[in-house]
């Protein structure tokens, strides 16, 4: 046997031992699997232009989508409020997926409950599940607020959340004045960014609908961060920036502390987040600013409808995008932009100039949520790179038009194209037929990296296979510096890897780069 007590092999090396290889070969013969050569031939075919055209003609099938569903966004949104339990009305499995998804990315526990609907609920409606579920959730987890969202199952049978929650309160599941905001978040419509939007809008409506507070009665600015896997670093960075400017602000949902609890012996089911009082007061703000436009369209409509000024950005990353954010905040608040931020800006520009020889002319593919792709493409254009393939499964036609404007505004954008509603299998064809130097995206891109050998730079949610990236900001000038460093690290690692075989390729294995 290959295993011995002196040297226990891990599964990786163990299964490469001849005994296992033989077993795999026998199994393959037994299965009647195609020969290695035939598989390789077919694999080769999928790399060409002919296959690419067939791939892009695909209508009914999505392969490796780069998006998740609405309730994931709702669960994330709920995590941004003080002592708020996320309650997913529908089947239990969905809620478990959302929990593990967020947990694997943030490396933190994530609690969410469901109404555990089963076959009888599907037939008779989910009212009883709502009544029991809210009662159990309220007594088990002592939340200050329960934010309700839905899965497909509840949406298909047409459960009415407003009525159900009213009924549950009437039955005494939770006190009459207990806050149970809700949003319908059908998975078969849109993606997690829409679920986020719907959920935040639902929460605002819940608190603002009957409130006498008049918009503009305070100097505060509301900040809607959007669905952001880097919220831990980003929200804290934004708070620092706004603090430097002396701006009065309220985050409409801030999950930074919830997804970054310290290990000090205390288990926190809830930590941080926007309080209910802040939420109520937020109606009086003079403006609501969304950091991610495509994540916040309905929320902004609602804020505008109560009389607030609104503004939105595309994930303010890099120089110009951060400039625009600061200038807008400055214009809205009347506060000056302090010298400290001007220096930070100068440092980022300086760093970009220091490294420009390595950045200029690099070709990238970017995939992810529409605002992220837009932000990343813009920053890459600022560095002299070309974001050749920009792909977003949940980006729409409007987004693609916006992207085209971005490309048209830069000499480095002329060979770039935005691909809306496309998946990672499309991207695979793009990478084989029109290769790039780097792919920027999330962990799901690792299969593309394996197949196409294009190095993957992980800069957006979800990042399952690398740890702690989300703890550092990517927005603002400081965030720009971190993104820049991440891009450069990958470039230099690649350069070193290409020159590190002793006596063979190490001619340019240089100490100084």
């Amino acid at each position: 046997m290959p295993q011995s007590a002196e040297k226990i092999l891990d599964h990786g090396p163990l299964f490469r031992e001849p005994e296992y290889q033989e077993m795999f070969a026998r199994k393959k013969a037994c299965d009647g699997a195609a020969s290695f050569d035939a598989t390789a031939l077919q694999g080769e075919y999928t790399k060409g232009w002919e296959y690419r055209e067939k791939n892009f003609a695909r209508e009914a099938l999505v392969i490796n989508p780069a998006k998740a569903c609405q309730p994931l966004g709702a669960v994330f949104a709920a995590a941004g409020f003080e002592k708020t339990m996320s309650f997913v009305h529908g089947s239990q499995g969905c809620a478990a997926y959302f929990r593990s998804h967020l947990s694997r990315h943030f490396k933190e526990p994530c609690t969410a409950v469901s109404s555990s609907m089963t076959e009888d609920a599907a037939v008779f409606g989910g009212l009883n599940n709502m009544i029991d579920g809210l009662a159990n959730c309220y007594s088990l987890y002592q939340p200050k607020m329960i934010a309700v969202s839905t899965t497909c199952m509840a949406e298909v049978i047409g459960d009415d959340l407003h009525g159900f929650i009213g009924n549950a309160k009437a039955k005494g599941s939770v006190p009459e004045d207990f806050d149970v905001p809700f949003a319908h978040t059908p998975s078969f419509v849109g993606s997690h960014i829409d679920g986020y939007d719907n959920s935040i809008r639902g929460i605002l409506e819940h608190f603002w609908k009957d409130s006498p507070t008049v918009a503009g009665s305070s100097e505060t600015i509301n900040i809607v961060p959007g669905f952001d896997g880097f919220c831990v670093g980003n929200n804290r960075e934004l708070a620092r920036i706004l603090g430097l400017m002396g701006v009065s602000y309220t985050f409409i949902g801030d999950a930074a502390d919830q997804f970054d609890t310290p290990s000090d012996g205390e288990y926190r089911m809830y930590d941080g987040g926007t309080t209910i009082d802040e939420l109520k007061a937020a109606k009086g703000a003079k403006a609501t600013v969304a950091l991610q436009h495509w994540n916040s369209r309905k929320t902004l409509d609602y804020a505008a409808s109560v009389g607030q000024e609104t503004a939105s950005f595309h994930y303010p990353l890099g120089i110009r995008a951060t400039d625009e954010l600061l200038m807008k905040v400055s214009a809205l608040s009347g506060k000056a932009i302090p010298e400290a931020l001007r220096l930070e800006r100068g440092r980022l520009v300086d760093a970009m100039a220091d490294s420009q020889a390595y950045l200029h002319g690099k070709r990238y593919a970017i995939f992810g949520d529409p605002d992220f792709v837009q932000a990343m493409a813009r920053f890459i254009l600022e560095t002299g790179g070309e974001p050749v393939h920009c792909l977003s499964t949940n980006g729409g036609k409007e987004w693609a038009e916006d992207m085209q404007k971005l490309f048209d505004g830069s000499p480095f954008g002329k060979d770039c194209k935005a691909h809306e509603h496309k998946d990672l299998w499309h991207l695979r064809s793009l990478l084989f037929t029109e290769p790039v130097d780097f792919v920027v995206g999330n962990s799901h891109g690792k299969y593309l990296e394996r197949d196409t050998k294009t190095p993957l730079i992980r800069l957006t949610f979800p990042i399952f296979d690398r740890h702690h990236h989300h703890r550092f900001p990517v927005i603002g000038y400081q965030g720009g510096l971190r993104v820049l460093t991440t891009l450069l690290d990958k470039m230099f690692d690649k350069l070193d890897a290409e020159t590190n075989i002793s006596g063979e390729t190490d001619i340019s294995f240089d100490l100084t780069r």
Binding site: A336, I337, P338, R342, G384, S508, L511
Partner: protein, 492 residues
């Protein structure tokens, strides 16, 4: 010979026109410019010697001194080797306080040589002295002699401790070491009428390999390239070459002249930077070979090769020319590059507004003048402050220089390209000029620089500027140059 006497010999350089014009007394003082205490400056003689010798690939380079002389200079240049990587190993005797007080240096050195020989079995060991070991009087020549006898291979003392003078002096002391101890110590059995040496070629980033195949195609045998990608044996047999080409004359002129005196090898100065210079270099090599007895048909073959390669190079440069034409270049390098790069840039339609001629020989200067027509384009040495002013005032579109002045350009918001030893791209030969122009294109057309120059869209008080929402075009706003800050950024 004492170190003092050796230095005097190095300075008495009849091949150097400056030296020839000096009176006997002035000549004795030597030509190294007095160092200026308190002013930021470049490297020392040790550094200079190590730069020249370190690219010899199969030799163990052992630095006799405290750790940091080697630690600070370890693997800091990107010469390339086609074989052994022993030269990149960092060997030092790492003298500590006790060794210095007790005088253990020589013993430790001998042991270090023994260890190297036992573990790496190199064809030779080069032993470099440093300030400390020279001050305490370690006799490395004697140790090397003894070790050489004991271990049956050349152990070469390189006596250029840092304090004796500048980096350039170190270069020459290294050249002298090659002459005194190595060249001519092995008789080759394979001499042909086509044997040449290239002197002062460092094979940075492997750039000489852009040239080598062309020479080999003509049947020219490279007896030794000193020091780039050289083997010990190549150098030891270099005296049987028929001709020498001198690339970096300020560093190794004494070597070329010495080889001419001792073995009658004629030499000429040339450069592999730029199309016409590369062609001129190939013609020069073939010309000297024919003079020394090679068949005259070599010249015809050379012309055919030059015609072919030039055509390819021009074809490859053509698409870059529109992007580069009219760009103004400040060339702040020195030595051979002061003129050879000028020609290369002019070939691509760029304008060289000024070139530095520091560390350039009189002949270098004459060539630079020929290329630029007017003295006002030449400067001996530009103060960092003046460079900053020129760039900040927008007098140049790009500066080409070494790493030490890069930050002057970057802080003046001007593109910059490394053309000195720390660069990562090969620029020699026909292939190299295309690479150089590509790199200039990347730098000069990078959008990072417009971003640098665009003003912050709010004023000093942090108030938003009227209509500054999206400055469409670049307005240069240069900040004042703080006094003295950049003096430390002086080039070496």
């Amino acid at each position: 010979m004492s170190l003092k006497a050796r230095i005097a010999t190095v300075f008495d350089e009849p091949a150097c026109p400056t030296n020839r014009e000096k009176s006997e007394t002035v000549r004795k003082k030597g030509c190294s410019k007095p160092l200026t205490p308190g002013a930021a400056a470049g490297g020392c003689a040790f550094d200079g010697a190590k730069i020249v010798l370190q690219p010899v690939t199969d030799v163990a380079h052992l630095i006799h001194g405290p750790l940091a002389c080697e630690g600070n200079s370890w693997d800091n240049r990107h010469a390339a080797s086609s074989g052994s990587d022993l030269w990149r190993r960092s060997f030092t005797t790492d003298l500590s306080e006790l060794d210095i007080v007790m005088g253990n240096g020589e013993k430790k050195l001998f042991k270090a040589i023994r260890t190297i020989v036992e573990r790496h079995d190199p064809p030779a060991v080069f032993v470099y002295s440093t300030c400390v070991t020279a001050l305490i009087g370690d006799d490395i020549t004697a140790v090397c002699k003894r070790a050489g006898e004991r271990f049956g291979r050349p152990v070469i003392p390189v006596e250029a401790p840092g304090f004796v003078g500048s980096k350039n002096l170190g270069n020459r002391l290294a050249g002298q070491t090659l002459l005194d101890h190595i060249i001519g110590t092995v008789e080759p059995d394979d001499v042909t009428p086509y044997d040449v040496n290239i002197l002062g070629e460092y094979n940075l980033v492997g750039e000489f390999w852009f040239v080598k195949p062309l020479l080999e195609e003509l049947g020219i045998r490279l007896r030794a390239v000193i020091p780039g990608d050289a083997r010990y044996r190549d150098i030891a047999t270099a005296h049987r070459a028929k001709a020498n080409m001198m690339v970096c004359s300020s560093a190794l002129i004494n070597l070329a002249r010495g080889m001419q005196e001792r073995w009658g090898i004629p030499y000429f100065e040339g450069s592999f930077y730029g199309i016409s210079d590369t062609s001129a270099a190939i013609r020069g090599i073939c010309g000297l070979l024919v003079e020394t007895g090679a068949p005259a048909e070599l010249l015809d073959r050379a012309e055919a090769l030059i015609a072919r390669e030039e055509a390819i190079a021009w074809q490859r440069i053509a698409p870059l020319k529109p992007r580069l034409a009219g760009k103004r270049v400040l060339l702040n390098t020195g030595g051979v590059k002061s003129w050879s790069v000028v020609n290369a840039l002019q070939e691509a339609g760029m304008e060289v507004i000024r070139t530095s001629i520091k560390k350039s020989t009189e002949e270098d200067k004459a060539r630079a003048l020929a290329a630029l027509k007017d003295e006002k384009h030449l400067f001996d040495r530009l103060a960092p402050r003046e460079i900053y002013r020129m760039l900040a005032d927008g007098e140049a579109d790009i500066m080409l220089s070494g790493g030490r002045t890069q930050f002057i350009a970057l802080k003046a918001k001007t593109p910059w390209l490394d053309v000195n030893q720390e660069r990562h791209h090969p620029y020699a030969g026909y292939e190299g000029i295309v690479e150089l122009l590509k790199r200039i294109d990347l730098a000069v057309n990078s959008p990072v620089f417009p971003a640098l120059r665009a003003p912050t869209p709010w004023d000093e008080e942090g108030r938003l500027l009227e209509g500054a929402d999206r400055p469409a075009e670049v307005t240069p706003t240069f900040r004042k140059f703080a006094n003295g800050v950049l003096e430390d950024a002086d080039d070496c």
